[in-house]
């Protein structure tokens, strides 16, 4: 999936993936897509909830070899 920006949040623990994602999405325009890579196991539920509370759309998420990837479209 194409992304306008990629955020590497691997190795970061709660709440850092959320805080970094917030900062990264601030730099995007509405409709653009942010791709996030994380290893925090809580990120799956946290980023899903975060997208919902911020009015963004979680387009897709995958897990491969302990790396969680998310694609979030800015609302």
């Amino acid at each position: 999936m194409n992304a306008d920006k990629v955020l590497d949040a691997k190795g970061l623990a709660c709440p850092m993936p959320i805080v970094k994602t917030k900062k990264a999405i601030n730099e995007l325009n509405a409709g653009e897509v942010l791709e996030i890579h994380a290893t925090d196991k809580g990120a799956k539920s946290d980023l899903t909830a975060w997208a919902k509370s911020g009015g963004h759309e979680l387009l897709q998420d995958t897990e491969d070899d302990g790396i969680l990837k998310f694609w979030i479209k800015k609302g």
């Binding site: 190795g11 709440p15 959320i18 805080v19 994602t21 917030k22 975060w50 509370s53």
Partner: protein
Amino acid sequence: MATKVAIIASNGSLFDAYKVFNVATAAAASDAEVGIFFTFEGLNLIHKEGHKQLPIPEGREHFQEGFKKENIPSIPELLEMAKEMGVKIIACQMTMDVMSLDKDAFVDGIEVGGAATFIQYASDANITLTF
């Protein structure tokens, strides 16, 4: 609907600091307006020197390794991030008076107020938490 979070921090260990600042930064990152009222031992969490060396509860010293292994951010980092994201920090005037502490004993960017200041802030909050 905008979310407003009002937090009371009234305990001063390292664990208390993580509870307060993790929830506060996560809320701020989720576009919530966040304010924390620091009272009694909670003032340790924003004390200029104290917040850098908060005590681990007795018998829990072995958690230290876990914090390192999991790459948990330090309290000074979390506090800095909270301020950067606009978290409002209110130090309790009465406790400061009891402890003979002035505003300059604390990190920059704080407000000083009494219980009524917090009540007024929290009066239209949707989430109120006490730690």
